[in-house]
Amino acid sequence: MPVTETKAFEPKIVAFCCNWCSYAGADLAGSNRSEYPSNIKIVRVPCSCRVNPMFILKAFQRGADGVIICGCHPGDCHYSTGNYFTRRRMALLFSMLNYLGVEKGRTRVEWVSASEGGRFSETMNDFASTIEKLGPNHRLEDLRCKQK
Amino acid sequence: MQKEALIPVVGVVQKITQETPDVKTFRVVGPDGKNLFDHMPGQCAMLSVPGVSEAMISITSSPAQTDYMEFSIKKAGKLTGWLHEMEEGQEITIRGPYGNDFPVETELKGQDLLFIAGGIGVAPIHSVIDYCIDHREDYGRLQVVYGARTPKDLVFYDEMTGPWKNVPNMEVDLTIDREAEGWDGHVGFVPTYAAELKPSTSMKVLVCGPPIMIKFTLQGLKELGFKDTQIFTTMEMRMKCGVGKCGRCNIGNKYVCKDGPVFRFDELGELPPEY
């Protein structure tokens, strides 16, 4: 008998975390045993401003349903000003994605410091539930990367 | 050639031999252990590793060798770099054979042959020399002039100084670019050496090597009285399809992958110098 499986939507999320704050924050979240969804894939970057807009698009192309960038709080950047540039760049990029019809919640920038393990897991949980509500990404997808 | 020109077959790299610090020879057979296809000396095949790249590589082994094919490859780019890192038993994909061949059965038959090669340019020449040795009675005198930067860079050194020395009426002259310790052979660039040897102008010449070597060799040969119609070479261009359709490897109205890679110099002279 054929079994029709109704699989709950499990969003794929890519989180770009800066090496100095957010990645350490994620570490802390881990050692504090704070939970965050396992389907969040963390990509460590030297600074949040290392994240080229193409990385974000590529993540969507390869099947991500949401992309979040985490960096040091403004003023705390290891390279002193990197995250300020991230802020402007991503403000413009996200606005452009939305202009093309991509849902607002799919992309986000958050500031998480090395000591904010709790904030890291809260942020991730919150982002994951936003993406779950939005459902699968169909507006920036490459079907070739979704066949399994 | 295979029916599906663009779909490759799987080949297994059975044996990898380190020839020089940056040249390895790869022996390729089919998954069943048998040779994948027959070829003629001078022809090429498209080797690829999915996810890495695809490249046209000339077949080094003799057509008389029907058990396998060999490719001597210098580490230069993406694909070749990957090939140099891999282990025996690795599968790759292969399609071919492509291109024309040195006219060993027509123009070159019964002739005295002069082979001039530099560096990895010896790869396609090796196939012809092997072919001539395998059909020794069909050819006259065989003279090989081969050079590389250092003694360590001489590909097939052992073969050239071993078995080839014993072939009747065959001469191998080796040279290196600069003096090196332990080298008591000739020192000097290939074009100069070839000219110094004063080869008989009745020979047919097969040249392969870096463009600059070909250029000066040609000059030297012409000074000795050789004609363009006596000299053959193989060309190299960026290729994608290998079957004369993707449109990038043409020199004038000729496609290197299909009408070449072997050209006689008088043929090249009639074509635009876009190579």
Binding site: - | A5, A76, G244
Partner: protein, 342 residues
């Protein structure tokens, strides 16, 4: 001649669709130009002369998956991903499009080895042409002896107002018309003859009708190649691929790979000899500047092609004339090198 009204034509398309044969036809898009699109209920055929993209897409699409590889450790599995094709109909190709198929056939089928991807599509495609009744200023197909009033496809069609007159030219065409026979009726074709006569008059007066091709005779390759005029004429070429990608006869392609996460797909996509990476090798580029690349494109169509096959690699559709951002199109080249260069 058999005729069918526009309303009945859509019934016929619906019938063909039911029989499993998709129909593609020129449809006006929101920018006011036409492009080929699949017929669905409610789709109306465009009245425009030319589509932006040529009809070559159907046989040689801009991107096309060739195969898939699955890699497990040292093992490689090659998978032919092609699916069985069903017949499809291209309705409304022009004579230049039809002529371009013959040029592409030469490259992909007649020149061995056969490109089976192209051949497969070609076998399943049925071409219904519509003769031109109002050629555009940029048209010059007659220069290449193409008769836009007799396209010579599987079915030749004429559109007079809202009625289409159809005539099968091949077995494939007859088979197609058989399927839609009930929608058609036999009718007098005097209006078609009148239309052809009017069109012929326009053709004679086209601005490019008398292009002088005599210098491009396939014999003087090096003479044309070395013409100093290439320097000035190519100077402001942008090196974009607009001419190539709207051209019905350009056949160059690139082979690329995409790692999908579930194997590697190898696909081909149109490439342009106008792009600098077209011939770029690790150490050198045999066509280092835009001059060489520009020259290659036109030498290929006007010199190498006639030299090899005795026919030009251009069908005079005029698409590049319409679309070149800097107006350095093939007519400009023919005039500069051909007429003034003699």
């Amino acid at each position: 001649m058999l005729s069918i009204t526009e309303a009945k034509l859509y019934e016929a398309f619906a019938q063909l669709k039911k029989n499993g044969e998709a129909v593609y036809l020129p449809v006006d898009n929101t920018s006011g130009e036409a492009d080929f699109a699949e017929w669905k209920e409610g789709t109306a055929i465009s009245k425009q002369l030319k589509t932006v993209r040529s009809a070559k897409d159907f046989f040689f699409p801009q991107t096309e998956n060739l195969m898939k590889f699955k890699v497990h450790g040292k093992k490689i599995n090659v998978i032919d991903t092609r699916e069985e094709l069903s017949d499809f109909v291209i309705f409304g190709a022009r004579a230049c499009d039809v002529a371009s198929f013959k040029l592409l056939d030469r490259a992909f089928i007649e020149e061995k080895p056969v490109d089976t991807y192209y051949e497969n599509r070609r076998e399943h495609g049925i071409v219904v042409s519509i003769a031109c009744s109002k050629p555009a200023a940029s048209c010059f197909c007659t220069v290449y002896d193409i008769d836009p009033t007799h396209p010579n496809a599987d079915v030749d069609g004429y559109r007079v107002d809202d009625t289409f007159y159809l005539e099968a030219k091949t077995a494939k065409g007859e088979k197609l018309l058989k399927q839609i026979e009930p929608m058609m009726s036999e009718s007098d074709d005097q209006c078609v003859k009148d239309q052809i006569a009017t069109t012929e008059k326009i053709l004679k007066n086209l601005p490019f009708a008398n292009l002088d091709m005599s210098r491009f005779n396939g014999d003087n390759m090096m003479d044309i190649f070395n013409d100093p005029k290439w320097n000035s004429i190519s100077e402001t070429c942008l090196g974009c691929g607009a001419c190539t990608f709207v051209c019905p006869t350009c056949q160059c392609y690139d082979i690329k790979e995409l790692d999908t996460g579930d194997g590697i797909e190898r696909f081909r996509c149109w490439d342009s000899c106008m792009y600098k990476d077209f011939t770029q090798m690790a150490a050198a580029n045999p066509r280092p500047s835009q001059k060489e690349r520009f020259r290659q494109r036109f030498m290929h169509k006007l010199v190498y092609y006639p030299k090899n096959y005795n026919v030009y690699g251009c069908v005079g559709c005029g698409r590049c004339v319409d679309k070149c951002p800097t107006h350095l199109h093939i007519v400009n080249v023919i005039k500069t090198l051909g007429e003034e260069g003699k």
